[in-house]
Every structure is written in structure tokens, then in C-alpha cells.
Symmetry: C2
Amino acid sequence: MTSNRSVPTLYDVAKTAGVSTATVSRCLNSPEQVVEHTRKRVLEVVHQLGYTPNFGARAMAAKRTYTIGAVIPTMENAIFARGLQAFQEELRARGYTLLVSSSAYDPQIEEEQIRALIARGADGLLLIGHDRTETVAEYLEKQGTPALAAWSFEEKGALPSVGFDNRRAMQALAEEVLALGHQRIGVISGITSGNDRARRRVEGIRDAVAGAGLAENCVTVVETPYDIANGADAFATLMHAADRPTAVMCGNDVLAAGALKAAREMGVCVPHDVSVTGFDDIELAGILSPSLTTVHVPHREMGRKAAQALMSMVQHGTSGKTALLETHVCLRGSLAAPGGL
Amino acid sequence: MTSNRSVPTLYDVAKTAGVSTATVSRCLNSPEQVVEHTRKRVLEVVHQLGYTPNFGARAMAAKRTYTIGAVIPTMENAIFARGLQAFQEELRARGYTLLVSSSAYDPQIEEEQIRALIARGADGLLLIGHDRTETVAEYLEKQGTPALAAWSFEEKGALPSVGFDNRRAMQALAEEVLALGHQRIGVISGITSGNDRARRRVEGIRDAVAGAGLAENCVTVVETPYDIANGADAFATLMHAADRPTAVMCGNDVLAAGALKAAREMGVCVPHDVSVTGFDDIELAGILSPSLTTVHVPHREMGRKAAQALMSMVQHGTSGKTALLETHVCLRGSLAAPGGL
DNA sequence: CTGAAAGCGCTTACAG
DNA sequence: CTGAAAGCGCTTACAG
């Protein structure tokens, strides 16, 4: 809101057009209800005065804002970028504006942002994943604002979701790794606390290991925030352990980029000395050398479908149908049999 | 806004606490004006009812929202990520919420988003660069919403700015390139139309070339949207020309990443066969091989200073002081003398 | 320290 | 097709 006194109001338009404020409002919101003659005159005045409706007032009176909010864990790397872009494009096509805010993977900040967005009148919310406190769930429930969880399919989540099965996706990749004969697996995971995607991915690896009849202690997990530098550090830690892994599976491509960087600096050859895998298949994966074996996630499709699902919740009050998207393993140069064969 | 009838209002709180709405409002906004005894009781009711102020109403009545909006060209790559993160942290520390929206480098979308953000009550705006239509400038002016341009210092811009001198920064890098003896420079620039940062960078290269007494036609410029794949294509185009450049200067690190990727695929050795440079020094630059010579931009500092400048405009109504930040050239493995010497 | 009341700028039944 | 009027949920001088 500005305090500039010169900003014209509905009333100003009505007065100079010689009609009531109701008529001006109708010209703007349901023009078909106004006869062309008056409508034309009113719109002229609107233009001439440079009138723009006050959003707060409109939101309060109409109880909708055509705004969708998204709270994502981070904008610092491209994990969510592509999906969000598709999400926004789809919303825009339907006349909605997307406002994004980032929580830095901090649950408390996420909660603040959710409240901020709802308070600012968001008609619907896009959230990432399912880990959230009871408080937030109750708040969302009480406010009655439709919300959708993306990036993580969960049959019985508190929120309907549009995403993929992180556990199965990573399991499929791990099975490829194990099929090559790897028996000591290092895992560089994101912080699993408060992050169901990260947790599920680690579980997927354990599933595969169990499925292959290997002992649980074949797997060594290091947790670290998603970040290239952290990925590099974690890789060094794993490789300095007594029992070096022959394959290092990373929780996402960003960590894997760090691992490859560290490998290069340590003079460890990938995949000859050790294999490295990622998750997400973001553009980054294509410029690494060796190119990165990873799990391809259909980011744009996910963004688009999430927008469609959320729009239907917002516009028709439907309860939101959970949708499962398929991922697939991308086998590339960073993975080979132990010994690089 | 929700239509859920159960959401409690100020009035509900007042009624059950047995005070006036004015008192409840005061407890929330200027608690020191209310005696502890009543304040305590009121806040209890607030908590018990789960009351949250209606934002639109509050904004309309108080004429401020504690919201800052940012319109950035893209979230798809990390160019703006780090600076924006710092910007947000600084705002958060001062009790402001940042809402971000992306324009996909489309001036019309940018204008829409600016309007959307202002309509939604943003107390201030962060924009990127200075290229903007007259209409937008007038609109901003008329609305009286403080706005700041970042990522681009401009002494006499329509908006105060916090940023660096793209032209001089790139000139400095180009001078290093020329000093090594390069005489045929390929340039992979971002789209310069509507993007003063991209344009200034190309100008900087031309400045250096002129300064070194070389002919203008030493420089071949290809423009393409910022994107790894486009960088790769543009690199191929340049290298297939009759007169191959000995150095390819890219408008940013993302394009450079594409160039390095293409070089690898074409069997062109960097820096032996051709040198490659970037701009920005984002994290990406560190994982490329060879490591990328680029211009280091103080992203976090820029974000922080932009927040401080904008806050002072918003809170104290100051007119906003333009600030120039320093960049520096980072010499790394991707640049060498012609022939890779 | 607290309340009554006006006002913020819109939308939308309800009449006509 | 159009207007008068109530109402959306708050804040803030103004009194007391």
C-alpha cells in the first residue's frame, strides 16, 4: 500500500464517469453485466485516471486474490527451478500469479512463510514434501486454504501430492549399482530430518541392499546439506575411511557434483577408482565429466501437473487427487563395475 | 482469503476477551500502549482462538504490509540465487517477508509481475537492471512504491541502484585476455535487447579491444538466451567459422559451462586450442574442468546492501542512494595464451 | 489506559 | 441495466 494521495480509487472513477461505484466495479469484474454504452465510458475514465484496483480491498471484499504461493526449501540450486518455472507458466495461463518464498530448509521459516502467504491472501499453496509439524497441518486445515505437496508422492500424506516415489526411484538406481557388483556403498545424503525426500532415498538404497541379500553394513551414510562444497567434503570423508566404498551414491546431483570435484582434486578417478551417482538429472548433470549417472525426474511435467491439480482445488473446491509420476534411471559415464570395468 | 466461516476475526477476540477491537488491535501492534493485565488476557484469547489478522484488511487500514517483492529474470539458473538469499535474510532480520516472481526475461511479464506485486501491497520492490519501458517507470512513479535496481550500477538510472559496473568489469577481464596475445575474440552474449547487463558486458569487451589498438572486427558476437545448451550451440557456431577465435568470452558462467561442454564434445581442448571465460563466478564455475576464468561478483554483499538500501527507502522514505560494488577477475585454468602456452 | 467511531477501497446481494 | 447500502476485517486519531 502506498500513502500517495494521488492514487485514484473506485470512487474517483465513479464520480468522474458519473456512475456509481457498483457500476465501475462491474465494468471491471463482470463487464457483460453492463451495457456497452456506459462500460465504454467508464473504461475510458479508468484508463485516463490510470486507475488500478486496490488489491487488499478487493481481496477482502471478494475473498480471492488470484495468487498462488509456493514455499520451496531453496533457490540456491536448480533442483526446484525447472519444475517451478513450469508451474508458474501453467498458472499464468489461467490468470494466476505465483509468489515464491524460500525456507532455507528450516521448518520454522517454512511455517512463517506459509503463514505469511496465507495472510497475504494466497488462494492456494504449493509446498515441497510431506514433513511438517502438527501445528502447520492444523493451521492449513483451519484456514481452509488448498495446499498441495510436490516432489514427493505419498499415498496417505496429510496433503494431496503430485510427485514421484523417492524411495522406489532411488532403489531402482541402487539395484543397477549392485548389479554391477558393488558391495561397499557410500551414501552422501541430504539432511534427512524434516526432509522426507532425502529419507526415502536412503531407504531406497537400503531396500536394494537387502533385496540383493547383502548385509546392512555394506552401506555407510553421511548426511550433509545440499551444496557442492558439502558434497566434496563428504566424499573426502568417505574415501578416507578404512573401508573405501567402491560406489558413492549421492542424494542429489548437486552433492554428486561436489563428489566429482573432490575426486578430481584427490586424484581419484571416476569411475575407475570409484563410481558416483546423483539424483534429479538437472542440467548440471550434463556438464560434469564424467557425465553423471542419475535418476531422471520429470520436473516440467511435475510442475505442470501440480498446477493443474492445485487449480482444480482452488477453483472447484475439489479435494485434490494425488498423482504419481514416473522416474527413470539414466546410466552415464560416472558408473561402472568396481575397478572401472 | 478463505471463505471458511470459522476463521476468527478481531471482533471475535474482542468479544470473548470483553474488550474493544481497538484494544485487541493495540495488543498486537503496539503492546506497550496496553496495560499488562488486559494485554495478557487478550493475547491468551488470541492464542486460544488461533486468531491471525486478516492481511488485506490490515494492509488497507494501515497502508503497509511488511512485504518486499522481487522480480528476477529467471530462477532457472543460479545467477540470482545467492544474492537473493542474502537479500531475503537481511529482510527477514528486519521483520519483512520477501516474495519473488520471475519474468523469464520477458519485459511484458516483468511489467505484469511488478503490477501484481504492487497491487498485493508490496512496500518496496527489488528489480534487476535498468532496461524498462516508460510505462513501467511512470507506473512506479505514480504508485509511489520505492524500488531499487540491482545487479547493475548506473549513475543516472531511473531507479537508484546497488550493483556493479558490468562494462568495466568485463573490460578488465577482456584486458587480461588481450594481454595474453589473443587477437580473435568470440563472444557469446546473452540477449542484449532489454538487458543492460548483457549489453554493457559486450561494450566492455569492445572498450578493451579499442584500448589495445585492435580493429573492431577482431570481435565476433553471438547472442543467445542464458542457458547451457545455447552456450554449447553458440560455441560450435563460433568454432566452425572461417576464422576461429582463439578465445571465447561468455556473457556469464552458464553460457561458459555450455561452451566447455561443447568443446569437450568437439574434441577441442581448452585452453590449448581455445580459451574460454565466464562472468559471475557462481558455484558452477568451480566444478567445471578446466576451472573457469571469470569475473567474481560479490553476490551476497550485493544482496545485503540492496536490502539495506531498500529498507531505508521504505522505512524512512529516503530517496535511495546508489552504491557501486567492486568485482574482480578470477584467473583460472580455462584461460591461457593462444596455443595454450 | 481504553472505547466509540470513522475510514481504508472494494464487491455484491437486493431492489428497482 | 444500474444504484444505494451493507459488509469485508482491520487501524487510528480523537475523546475521555
